[in-house]
Assembly symmetry: C2
Homo-oligomer: 254 residues x 2
């Protein structure tokens, strides 16, 4: 198999952990990275705490190809992500001239000390344009620092997408059955997974119209491997007395 | 201040990281723990990988008062959470007699090797009843192992809620303004936070009807501390020429 390209997401924000705000960025980034052939391998949600941010960023940037942080780059006292990322890299935390220019141009006579705090970044940071509220995100080495507001995080991801190097995009195929539950075929699925090391087989049972069914999701780099596993799954379902469908079935997964 | 009671959530599932499934448990547990006076301090989302599960569980159980895992306790080959938790604790992985009894009673003549795998647990595990699909979750020391399906995870949390020891439930009060943006009062908020060490002040700007506003959320153990900070916030907003509202304003937060 080709080298896997991996990523992690670090969500920074007391408001997520307290339940005040429901995160929307994890799922979005998971989907977008998967489309690019980048495997999201870990997510951490942490407090607005300097030590925690430094620890998470340094762990993730050493372990994964890409790190995306969301949250904590606003202008107020509770926005400490940029300063903490500077410390994580051992870089000076200083005014970024281009960010300063963008903010001055945006706020004009309303520019003040608070708003200009958003121009402070780790030395050598590369800006990520923010078309929504202007105040830029930034990148240091393999760490991308985004705002937490979903619309801005998405816009910032759009602006870096083309710069990311993905691996092979996984081929995904789902075989479902409405009249077989996973408990009836689990041992065969176990053998199937052993016999098809080039793919990952996930089993997702669901309830539909009062009956149990199962979605069997096969992921792999090569279409031929995925197709071969799917054919074997159809045989397993048929032998168990069920009907195999060549597609995902929507139901209440459990 | 009283001793903080802390918790972490470990979400286990390739399907969350690939974007196939959107997690719903983090937000639910964040809200419920907050209500109990338990501070959710960290969330990790990790793959169905034995090493990753062991590492996350051992990190979190040493650092936090409670750990809640979700996902990976079904019957198929991709459900490896229970075995990994046993390894994390260095305990034998074996059939739990009461879980076996529950599953046999539930499946009756349909009990088979696959379904009975859900009776395997770390030695000494305490069962957590699953009223939805019967197969129990379990607890080992301070680690609670729940199913990933939201309806079952919620039911399992309901069943352990009374056993959790919370700290003081934080008093939360929000002051908002529709005609002040955080950029206008940021330095005053910074001073305010310094002057009120007994509370945490979060600043959440929003857009409403084309204008900027801000929700200022004050959290603290003592109502008097929270009230005092809120009074000072009202003064800050008024001095800046705005109108302070004694409540949260709904808007598009960013």
């Amino acid at each position: 198999m080709s080298k896997k390209i991996t990523a992690s997401v670090v969500v920074i924000g007391n408001e997520i952990l307290s339940g005040r705000t429901q995160d929307a960025n994890i799922h979005y980034l998971a989907c977008e990275l998967t489309k690019l052939g980048i495997q999201l391998a870990e997510v951490r949600v942490i407090c607005d705490d300097e030590f925690d941010i430094i620890e998470a960023v340094n762990h993730c940037r050493a372990k994964y190809d890409y790190v995306f942080t969301t949250g904590g780059i606003g202008s107020t006292h509770d926005d400490i992500t940029a300063a903490a990322v500077a410390k994580a890299f051992g870089r000076a935390f200083e005014i970024h001239p281009e960010a300063e220019r963008i903010l001055l141009n945006h706020y004009k006579e309303k520019a003040n000390k608070t708003r200009m705090r958003m121009a402070w970044m780790p030395n050598g940071a590369e800006l990520i344009d923010n078309p929504v509220s202007r105040s830029p995100g930034f990148k240091v080495e393999n760490v991308f620092v985004f705002a937490g507001v979903p619309i801005i995080a998405k816009a910032m991801f759009d602006n870096v997408r083309a710069s990311l190097t993905g691996g092979p995009v996984l081929v995904v195929q789902t075989i479902s059955s409405l009249d077989i539950s996973e408990g009836m075929i689990g041992e065969h699925l176990r053998d199937l997974q052993d016999n098809h090391p080039g793919v990952d087989v996930g089993s997702y049972p669901f309830l539909k119209s009062g009956g149990f069914g199962v979605n069997l999701v096969v992921r792999g780099e090569n279409k031929a491997d995925v197709d071969a596993a799917c054919e074997d799954i159809k045989v397993i379902i048929t032998k168990a007395g069920g009907t195999a469908l060549d597609q995902e079935t929507e139901g209440d997964e459990f």
